[in-house]
């Protein structure tokens, strides 16, 4: 138990403490540059954020709109950092979606989630060591000004202020009526031409957000090979530019082989799932079921310029809305077994945060 070190210190170099001049970018190992996803927990899970040049795909659940939460945070983060944005959606009026983007919450309150080990006085129990090795916490600057934070906590209840949206490079495209994907491909190409990847320092990064790519009401949604070749060309365009593209799609509407092919195309693959409401079994099994909104699975994490994969402790996280405003991802903790017979075992998927772990833990 006490002998094993946390994996991060064995396999990856310490993150460079170089603070970049542009606030929205973070330099990571192996020459990758990250931009924030807009959700602090997701950045931590993915090892810093979305690397520039990667294609992120989110598999939607037909029964829950959680992919919209991810998209909203992603787009808001880009607007707050003044990164140009291209948004495509199957609705007639995509601009309307911009009105639902959240605003950064004030960073002063709600820092109780950062467990600051320095303030912990009293007995420190060694088997809870994972709590004290959160390496990303110390890299945030003491400068807590809203504009200069890499990743903001977004308050989903308040809409984004108008000055972030107006006067920005925001391009909204509706993909509802396009018979084929040539128009969208050209749009993406012209957008990505603004951020070529070359040896000189980068000025800014771009964000592409495509929502519900194979939505059934779009005329091209029957042409599976065309959609696949669009994704392939998008991926190659993004790879050679300083941008990140996030594409969400409902895999249940594709044939299984194409769903697999699309999943292979992704550099980072996430999926969101709905949870049943008022499920007594689940409420007994998991702590915090009341606050849970859905589940997030991390299937693949992008690793560019390296062959060392990211090995996560756990791949399933619960999506919660803290105080009904802030999006929080937590690993699943099993509720303690309350039967008196037998020993109870804490969850082995994660050692962090559970207040009542079992007698046997490691």
């Amino acid at each position: 138990m006490a002998t094993s070190k946390p994996r991060t210190s064995s396999f990856s170099r310490n993150l460079a403490t170089v603070t970049s001049s542009t606030p929205g970018l973070k330099y990571g190992p192996n020459g990758t540059i990250f931009i924030s996803s807009g959700i602090p927990d997701l950045d931590k899970i993915l090892g810093g954020g979305f690397p520039l040049g990667s294609l992120v795909m989110v598999m939607e659940d037909a029964e829950a709109p959680h992919h919209m939460l991810l998209l909203r945070n992603f787009m808001s983060q880009g607007l707050v950092h003044k990164q140009p944005l291209l948004y495509a959606s199957p609705s007639k009026d995509p601009k309307g979606f911009l009105g639902t983007l959240p605003t950064p919450g004030s960073s002063k309150d709600d820092k109780s989630r950062d467990r600051d080990p320095e303030n912990e006085n009293g007995l420190r129990i060694a088997w809870q060591y994972k709590k004290y090795f959160s390496d990303n916490q110390h890299h945030f600057d003491s400068n807590r000004d809203v504009k200069h934070e890499y990743c903001h906590d977004f308050d989903l209840r308040k809409p984004l202020e108008k000055h972030f949206i107006s006067g920005q490079h925001i391009d909204c495209v509706s993909i509802l009526d396009s018979p084929n994907l040539a128009a969208l491909r050209d749009h993406c190409a012209t957008f990505l031409a603004q951020f070529p990847r070359n040896a000189s320092s980068i000025s800014s990064a771009g964000r592409i957000a495509i929502q519900s790519f194979c939505a059934p009401q779009c005329t091209y949604s029957n042409m599976e090979w065309d959609m696949l070749s669009f994704i392939r060309s998008l991926r190659s365009m993004v790879r050679s530019s300083n941008a990140v593209a996030v594409v969400t799609f409902p895999p249940s509407l594709l044939s299984p082989s194409f769903s697999r092919r699309w999943q292979h195309m992704a550099d980072t693959l996430l999926s969101v799932r709905a949870i049943p409401d008022e499920d007594k079994e689940m409420a007994k099994l998991l702590t915090g079921y009341q606050d849970m909104v859905g589940l997030l699975n991390v299937h693949k994490v992008a690793r560019i310029n390296t062959q060392v994969p990211v090995i996560l402790d756990t791949t399933t996280f619960s999506i919660k809305l803290q105080k009904r405003r802030f999006l929080v991802l937590e690993s699943l903790n099993q509720a303690p077994i309350d039967s008196s017979s037998g020993t109870s075992y804490g969850t082995s998927a994660s050692c962090s945060g559970s207040s009542k772990t079992g007698t046997l833990d490691f």
């Binding site: 509802l176 059934p216 409401d277 756990t314």
Partner: protein, 344 residues
């Protein structure tokens, strides 16, 4: 639960939201989708007439039955169709969906074709054109309710009929346009799931906010098991079935509810699942025997939790991994024992 569905359709949509949409899905094993559809239609109609619902009118797109059938049905139930205040409009896509009768008359061949007396239904002659269909539905609806914010409901008799003539993407476009129109309060449609590919059913479920599926009472594994003694029992059970509903709630969770229904003499009754059945359900939990020898598939499933391609690099970790696996097995074992203990 049929009550909750009726309530959801009656309450309609909030401002700025898409209208709630219901898919009624049945199959040949339990083909009572149309009974459920008419039940909901009559419930909604009585709610509209009693002014209990958000909508003030109903547009019925009749594809698989003629409009006169519906008018008779409503009259039989006791719902006043020809009341002073017009509340229902039927779009007749049953009589002449592809405009063939018109073409025949025009070419002079079918001179003595009797025209159905118009029963207050508007005729649609081209089911293939989704845009035209959409605008006819909206026009009819606006004709019922006055100008302003008053809304109306839409009921589509059978989406399968439209899908015979139009592609699924255009039908999906029609449904999503109807849902997002701010004059539509709620919308529901019937679909027979075995008439189409799985993808079509998946698309219809994607477009809807509630999915009601009708299933037979006991699904036998092999459908050809015909035991002569149990034929009367099978026949009795044919008229009963299970009614499962999945609600997509606003908080992003899915509410799953189940009920039993019983069809007698073209009327359908719903009742909640009796408690004996619930205990029966519990005993259908997977076997609890603790299995140390896991099959290949089970090993793969467990291994998914521990993704570790570089095993050879992790020297001291063999023991830790074994301990983790052991703890996972014990965890699952305790979980299963706990559910068993609870059921007792």
């Amino acid at each position: 639960m049929a009550e909750s569905i009726c309530r959801a359709l009656r309450d309609g949509a909030l401002q700025g939201e898409h209208a709630p949409a219901l898919t009624i899905k049945d199959s040949i094993a339990s083909p009572f989708g149309f009974h459920v559809f008419t039940h909901l239609l009559t419930q909604l109609s009585s709610n509209i007439l009693a002014a209990k619902s958000q909508s003030r009118g109903l547009v019925l797109v009749a594809l698989s039955r003629s409009p006169s059938f519906y008018l008779d049905l409503l009259n039989r139930i006791g719902i006043d169709v020809a009341s002073s205040q017009k509340w229902i409009e039927i779009l007749d896509c049953y009589t002449d969906p592809l405009g063939w009768k018109d073409a025949l008359l025009a070419s002079g061949n079918g001179g003595s074709l009797s025209n159905e007396a118009s029963t207050g239904a508007s005729l649609c002659r081209n089911v293939k054109d989704m845009d035209k269909l959409y605008s006819s539905i909206i026009e009819l609806g606006k004709g019922i309710v006055e100008q302003g914010k008053v809304r109306f409901c839409v009921a589509i008799d059978s989406v399968n009929e439209i899908l015979r003539h139009a592609s699924i993407s255009s039908v999906a476009g029609l449904l999503s346009n109807l849902r997002s129109n701010d004059r539509v309060s709620s919308i529901f449609w019937l679909s027979h799931s075995d008439l189409h590919e799985d993808r079509v059913t998946a698309v219809l479920e994607y477009m809807s906010s509630m999915v009601a599926s009708i299933e037979p009472l006991n699904q036998s594994a092999n459908g050809h098991r015909c035991n002569w003694e149990s034929l009367p029992l099978l026949e009795r059970n044919y008229w009963k079935g299970k009614f499962h509903v999945r609600f997509k709630r606003r908080n992003g969770r899915v509410r799953v509810m189940s009920e039993e229904f019983h069809v007698e003499q073209s009327a359908i009754n719903f009742r909640s699942i009796s408690s004996e059945d619930e205990i029966v359900n519990r005993s259908l939990l997977p076997k609890v025997q603790f299995n140390l020898q896991l099959s290949e598939k089970e090993q793969i499933d467990w291994a998914k939790e521990l993704v570790n391609p570089f095993k050879f690099m992790m020297f001291g970790d063999h023991l830790r991994m074994a301990r983790v696996k052991q703890n996972l097995f014990l965890l699952e074992y305790c979980r299963q024992m706990r559910t068993l203990a609870r059921a007792r």
